[in-house]
């Protein structure tokens, strides 16, 4: 029987009731007394020298309160980068300044130049039209390889070139890797593009800055996945406001997918301007603005090679990747193509030698940073396309080639610096094969053929590193932050429990799943536990939600704090029952003395803690509130096997996704319903990347895909029902819940399945010349590939 409450139960989400009745409170729903509105005038050229900004006519427009330009921010810090990568030669990356409003140059379409604060949004927009810009347009660099040519225009005049860093990993392995390739019986080579994506959380970004002149306190309401990180970055590096004078609130947030991790100029602007004009300042992004101001994702160009011995064992992998940083370094941008990508290049396989080279490049495009999966989809896509191609070249079954090279003993130290604690890749592959009826494929393919379609089956594996991260380790790797998580568990006098977590929920359902954990540990109804998140004023310093880290790191902090609560409560119970605290057991919310019929209820103990008339005051403080910070020992390593079937229309190249199956090992699962939902959403984003989505720039740096008219978001009729399974469980060995995280797996594992399936369909249709097609696999691209 499935559980009906606590850990492992598909408890219905409590947050749904407010969202289903229109009572959510998103940042744009917040309006403050005396509020003003800001509109950003943004560059419409990709690269130019900003000679002058004449705001005089605009300042006289109705409703205009004040217009800010880069000059107003000369004494203010720029937007900081949170991760410093060291290059192959031991030198730090090139790190250009990133002003809040453009100073001297504009570097991408969308770069903010001026901010018009007015009484109404319409007045602010109208006044923007009256600002006169003197911009001397410069040649733009869009293509990464062209950006690295010696005569390329420089995005940042003060840097030596457009190369941010040239990273080698593991540099000491390079010679041995090259030797292995020289000795290989077979080498498979693949050149591919991991297409640039726009994250497109359905809620556009919003910021409301507020300032209280009476107390000198600033408050920012913002659409963030990590309000404490914004408070620290904005307070310490941009505006010089100490944390105790700055509150950041991220209320209900309508999706993030990474794009709401980063500290953006608009947040700093609203906070800054509110203090300047002594009135609240609100900015609401339009979708068109989001396309040119939210950080994009992916955008890698890669050559990858696999060396195999005569028995088809993997000997070595060698990669060279160009990674687009865009015009500025977004908050965690440098870490994505390096530490979140290079460290995953072993995948599920025991390849003894790996060398990864990444050249990060500045271009006149929107900054690129983490998007669902962040580095790991890029690694998985390369590797799983490569292994599939190798199997085809060698004439072996792609599943057999994978199985032959699977890592099967744990813990396993990869040659790319991470140690997988546990896993069972054969188990998830076995589970997948039970889900997809591989034996029936030929019959389905014959049916498709009879209907004039080519059917293909794509299978792949993935592994990811989640639960970022051991602070000491990431500190060595260049992170400028710790990556622990926090929780405060406050038990009230009458027994209700409030958990204040540093994690943030923007669709993941923490208010439900986190409550399940605490309710289970104490043995009280889930409804007795409330989860508070998203406000720096009432939650302990936390690092927020991304990288599938919330239950693995935030959940662990919550477990540790709850354990402290239980320990203290047992001492109180022991006092009340005149027993030794080592004899106290807690079950179903009752404390009992082992071997006796003595018991006190949870509520008796909580009341005693706050009304300590009969209480061990000499040994124990009153009250029942505990905080824990949890810093993990290792990453977690969710893994699995994915498969899909597609039909290709040979007349048009149109790909139809017929079925999709995912067998994941997430370790222990708190709420299976929520976990399945996370996988569904991830798969849809992966399908979007593989078949539909592409951020497209022309050679002048104009964004061609800047609205939903041009950027193909997956819609309900693009997708089938999915089969998902997470019954294969190898619990994480190093966190208290044995959990691994599930938020990104779908987006990581699905793109190679789809491309593998399309290539399979074409080969079965006799088009064996097609080695690879770059995503998105639009009808035009597939059709062109078919023509040879």
């Amino acid at each position: 029987m499935p559980k009906d409450h606590g850990i492992g139960a598909s408890s219905k989400r409590r947050e749904d009731v407010r969202f289903l009745t229109g009572r959510g409170r998103y940042t744009d729903d917040i309006n403050l007394y005396g509020q003003t509105y800001v509109h950003f005038l943004r560059s419409d050229v990709a690269h130019g020298r900003l000679n002058a900004v004449d705001t005089s006519a605009a300042e006289a427009m109705p409703g205009v309160i004040r217009i800010f330009t880069g000059k107003d921010f000369e004494g203010v810090g720029g937007l900081p980068c949170g991760w410093q990568v060291t290059d192959r030669h031991g030198q730090p990356m090139q790190e250009p300044p990133h002003p809040v409003l453009a100073q001297g140059k504009v570097r991408h379409v969308g770069d903010p130049i001026a901010a018009i604060v007015a009484e109404t949004p319409a007045q602010a927009r109208n006044a923007a039209e009256a600002i006169v810009l003197d911009i001397e347009e410069l040649p733009a660099v869009i293509d990464m390889k062209q950006a690295l040519s010696p005569d390329a225009p420089k995005v940042h005049d003060d840097l030596t070139s457009n190369l941010c860093y040239d990273w080698g990993f593991v540099e000491d392995n390079k010679g041995a890797v090259d030797e292995a390739f020289a000795k290989a019986a077979h080498v498979t080579t693949l050149e591919l593009v991991n297409n640039r994506l726009a994250p497109n959380a359905m809620e556009p970004r919003v910021a409301v800055g507020d300032y209280n002149p009476g107390t000198d306190d600033s408050t920012l309401y913002t659409t963030s996945q990590n309000p404490h990180v914004i408070r620290l970055l904005m307070g310490a590096f941009v505006l010089g406001i100490p944390e105790h004078k700055l509150r950041v609130v991220a209320p209900d947030v309508g999706g993030g997918f990474g794009s709401k991790i980063f500290h953006y100029a608009e947040e700093a602007f609203c906070t800054f301007a509110a203090k300047q004009i002594k009135r609240p300042v609100k900015w609401t992004s339009s979708r068109s603005e989001a396309f040119i101001s939210d950080a994009h994702g992916r955008d890698h160009v890669t050559k990858i090679e696999l060396a195999l011995d005569g028995d088809n064992n993997f000997m070595a992998i060698r990669t060279e990747t160009y990674a687009n940083m865009g015009a500025y370094l977004s908050t965690f941008a440098p870490s994505i193509p390096t530490w979140l990508h290079g460290t995953l290049m072993a995948g599920n396989y025991k390849t003894p030698l790996i060398y990864v080279n990444v050249k990060a490049v500045f271009t006149n495009t929107v900054p690129v940073d983490a998007y669902r999966g962040a580095g790991r989809p890029e690694a998985t896509f390369q590797l799983e396309r490569l292994v599939d191609k190798a199997a085809r070249e060698l004439g072996v079954d792609p599943v057999d080639l994978r199985r032959q090279n699977f890592i099967t003993t744990f813990p396993y130290a990869t040659p790319v610096a991470v140690e997988y604690d546990t896993g069972d890749y054969n188990a998830t592959m076995d589970q997948l094969l039970t889900m997809i009826d591989r034996d029936g494929f030929d019959a389905r393919a014959a049916k498709s053929k009879a209907e004039g379609k080519l059917r293909g089956l794509g299978i792949n594996c993935y592994i990811e590193a989640c639960g970022i991260a051991p602070s000491a380790l990431v500190g060595q790797l260049g992170a400028r932050a710790g990556l622990y998580e926090s929780a405060t568990v406050r038990v009230n006098a009458t027994g209700g429990i409030v958990v204040m977590t540093g994690s943030h929920s923007h669709g993941q359902g923490h208010e439900t799943s986190f409550a399940q954990v605490v309710a289970d540990m104490i043995g009280v109804p889930e409804a007795q536990v409330e989860i508070v998140h998203g406000d720096t004023a009432n939650t302990p310093m936390g690092m927020g939600t991304y990288g599938s880290r919330s239950i693995a790191v935030g959940g662990s902090a919550m477990v540790r704090a709850t354990e402290k609560i239980i320990n203290k409560a047992k001492k109180i119970a022991a006092h009340l029952m005149e027993a030794s605290d080592s004899d106290i057991e807690l079950k179903d919310g009752q404390f009992t003395v082992a071997g006796t019929d003595k018991s006190v209820a949870w509520g008796d103990v909580t009341l005693a803690a706050y009304v300590p008339h009969n209480y061990p005051l000499t040994e124990l403080e009153p009250g029942l509130e505990e905080t824990a910070f949890y810093d993990p020992n290792n990453f977690t390593y969710p893994a699995g096997a994915y498969a899909c079937e597609v039909e290709v229309d040979p007349e048009t190249g149109k790909v139809t996704l017929c079925s999709f199956a995912a067998a994941d090992d997430f370790g222990n699962v708190i709420n299976p319903m929520i976990v399945s939902g996370q996988v569904h959403g991830g798969i849809a984003q992966g399908v979007g990347q593989a078949l539909l989505e592409n951020v497209s720039y022309d050679e002048n740096g104009q964004l061609l895909s800047a609205s939903y008219m041009d950027y193909a978001m997956p819609r309900a009729d693009d997708l089938p029902f999915y089969q998902v399974d997470h019954s294969c469980v190898t619990p994480c060995t190093h966190n208290p819940l044995g959990v691994k995280g599930c938020g990104e797996a779908g987006a990581i594992g699905s793109p190679p399945a789809i491309v593998n399936a399309v290539i399979d369909a074409l080969h079965r249709g006799g088009m064996t010349h097609v080695g690879h097609i770059n995503m998105p696999l639009t009808p035009a691209r597939v059709w062109a590939a078919m023509q040879g």
Partner: protein, 161 residues
């Protein structure tokens, strides 16, 4: 400014609007009915779907000034009279048909319009009807399942959760 009077969720309301004020803005800013969301500026995403005189429309495509005398229903008017979730809303919760909740009001309003037109839609019909509603979180699986369930159809054969 033009004064408009409408019935919104059964209540008579009126307000002064500019000629350019969209229904979505009127609902959110003047009436403080912030359940209607704005997710794009090209009438593509469907987060702002409401019912006007019984028809589902994107409230970013209608001018408030044009709707004098109209009867409007928003997500705030969809629960049962006793405040409990309606059949469609309950199906969305039961089948995990929402995550971040931002597209949800539009999805529920579109689902209600679909089931009024077509009380027992097929999966294909549901997917086709939702063509104008974008969700980035759920991959649509559980939204489609919830709508089929709300129509009284057995969804137990549809894959897990």
């Amino acid at each position: 400014m033009t004064q408009v009077t409408m019935t919104v969720n059964g209540k008579a309301v009126s307000g002064d609007v500019e000629g350019r004020t969209l229904l979505a803005e009127f609902l959110r800013e003047k009436l403080r009915l912030t359940g209607t969301h704005i997710g794009c500026d090209t009438s593509q995403c469907g987060a702002c779907v409401v019912h006007v005189d019984g028809q589902a429309i994107k409230s970013c495509t209608a001018l408030a000034a044009d709707l004098d005398g109209a009867s409007v229903v928003t997500i705030e008017g969809m629960a049962n009279p006793d405040g409990s979730l309606s059949v469609i809303q309950q199906a969305f919760q039961d089948h995990h048909g929402l995550q971040c909740g931002f597209c949800t009001p539009g999805m529920v309003m579109s689902a209600a319009a679909l089931l009024k037109e077509n009380p027992k839609p097929t999966e294909t019909e549901v997917r086709a009807y939702l063509e104008g509603n974008i969700c980035r979180c759920t991959g649509y699986h559980n939204i489609v399942k919830a709508i089929l369930a709300a129509s009284g159809q057995d969804v137990s054969a549809i894959a897990a959760e």
